[in-house]
Assembly symmetry: C2
Homo-oligomer: 148 residues x 2
């Protein structure tokens, strides 16, 4: 449950790959480096460009590079770029369902959404590539204010 789409998964893989070396990478290089089909990587990079997470350099010797410092790019942004807004249930947007008045459940979902969104915003790319996992153990999470 709570599946992250494969695209979002690939998206973070691509981003972490690029975070490890801030130079310009061609789509085919990234593809080879990650073992993901070239057209797919290409597609993902285009999406990331559109969301300003990645800058593109056209022409020969061109390619893609991170638009910002890895520490300034959150996981939430990446997922959002690939899958659209982080929202866990349908009735979160403008769509007003008929039984809205009686639906006390709704605002609770929104609270849950906030929690998750918050958690994902607190993890950035720089942390994802740190060789020794720092985010993993719970005490570290707590000290960083992600968890209770």
């Amino acid at each position: 449950m709570l599946r992250l789409s494969k695209m979002a998964d690939y998206g973070t893989q691509v981003m972490t790959y690029m975070a490890r070396d801030l130079a310009v990478h061609s789509a085919s290089e990234v593809s080879a480096g990650l073992g993901i089909a070239a057209p797919t990587v290409s597609k993902i990079l285009k999406m990331l460009v559109r969301k300003n997470l990645v800058d593109s350099v056209m022409g020969a010797k061109g390619g893609y590079m991170l638009a910002r410092d890895p520490a300034a790019i959150s996981i939430a942004e990446i997922i959002d770029a690939m899958d659209g807004p982080i929202s866990i249930t349908e009735c979160s947007g403008t769509t007003t369902c008929e039984r809205e008045s009686t639906c006390s459940t709704r605002s609770n979902w929104q609270g849950i959404n906030h929690i998750i969104q918050n958690a994902l915003e607190k993890v950035n790319l720089a942390e994802m590539i740190s060789p020794k996992p720092q985010v993993m153990d719970m005490s570290a999470l707590r000290s960083r204010g992600i968890l209770i």
Copy 2:
């Protein structure tokens, strides 16, 4: 992104409906009460029974009822019953990917998973049906230890 499946959404709707009145409800009654197609509700209730979130009473005048106190049923359990284990990325289980050794990303995902799982476990059915949203505002979340 981070979409909750419609089934999981329905699942929580059904559960909150039943939490409001702990008596036995037939599938058709729940269907009418929620405005969800009867076969679908029926299917959902069966899934919930299998996961021991709901008890069934067979025969005439039979139906379904919550297996436990609403306060003892977390949202995480419900979502899990409908969609399977809460996991945000593919390589969370037993499947070992080839580049596991170099994959420092993986453990970070697991940390994120923990955060989300944790958040969903802390919200229970009883809270979902409370008329005035208590979980919604962030300060309340903090005081309850869900958020920083």
